[in-house]
Symmetry: C2
Subunit: 145 residues, 2 copies
């Protein structure tokens, strides 16, 4: 097996995630996973654990544990949904908002710098990646998952 696409994607992403995690822990005292969760709640409006799991691409138990930790750390507010159902309403605490705001732009700039350095056209690569994700989601849904 030469180093094919699936392996390269796997390794590239693993390294990006690990680097992101190292930087965030060292400079901001938070893991990459938790940062992503807070960001999605704050800026994409992930308002229930189910929705957040979909946005992150992980399962409900994973989110369940993480929201517990984030709530205990005082970054996330988790409340029963007043509209009823068994849902939780997620929102950032003031401390959570402060954290996310202080990190986001600087962090994204660092990734863009790597892409620029590589000579890969950012917009095109981003669009291809987005398209693969959309297609893969659709195929999985059609397959009944």
């Amino acid at each position: 097996m030469e180093r094919n696409l699936s392996l390269n994607l796997h390794v590239l992403t693993a390294r990006l995630d690990r680097a992101a995690d190292r930087i965030l822990r060292a400079e901001h005292g938070i893991s990459y996973s938790r940062f992503l969760a807070l960001t999605l709640v704050g800026e994409l409006g992930a308002s229930t654990q189910r929705t957040l799991a979909d946005y992150l691409g992980v399962t409900e138990p994973s989110v369940s544990r993480m929201t517990g930790v984030l709530a205990a750390d005082g970054l996330l507010d988790v409340q029963p949904d007043p509209a009823g159902g068994n849902r939780r309403r997620l929102s950032l605490t003031d401390e959570g908002k402060r954290r996310v705001a202080s990190i986001r732009q600087e962090f994204e700039d660092r990734l863009a710098a790597v892409v620029a350095e590589s000579g890969v056209p950012y917009a095109e690569y981003a669009e291809h990646t987005a398209r693969l994700l959309t297609t893969f989601d659709r195929l999985e849904r059609e397959a009944g998952k």
Copy 2:
């Protein structure tokens, strides 16, 4: 935050890995991680744990544990390197070879089908991904990490 590149890469890869893992477990009784390790030993000639860790993009302790499990399962042969040093010589057992051979082509075909379905040009995307990986590796090495 819109769904930017780093998040899309993270989620796309997580889903590909999970799908690969599900398929391999259900149809072949092996995890994706272990399949990758066996494949790299068998076909790229990863002959020590250090080399295998580099190919996989993970750390030595992770490989150390995995080679132990694979050896216990009778798929991998782990021996002290007769050439001396503290190295281990890795090689597939007959059972390990049989396993890898029966899986590889069918599995790669499935991924190629997803890419084709999405309309993303495979060769170009693969090349961009490879280039990003190379650049990122270089930047990390230069940074002293």
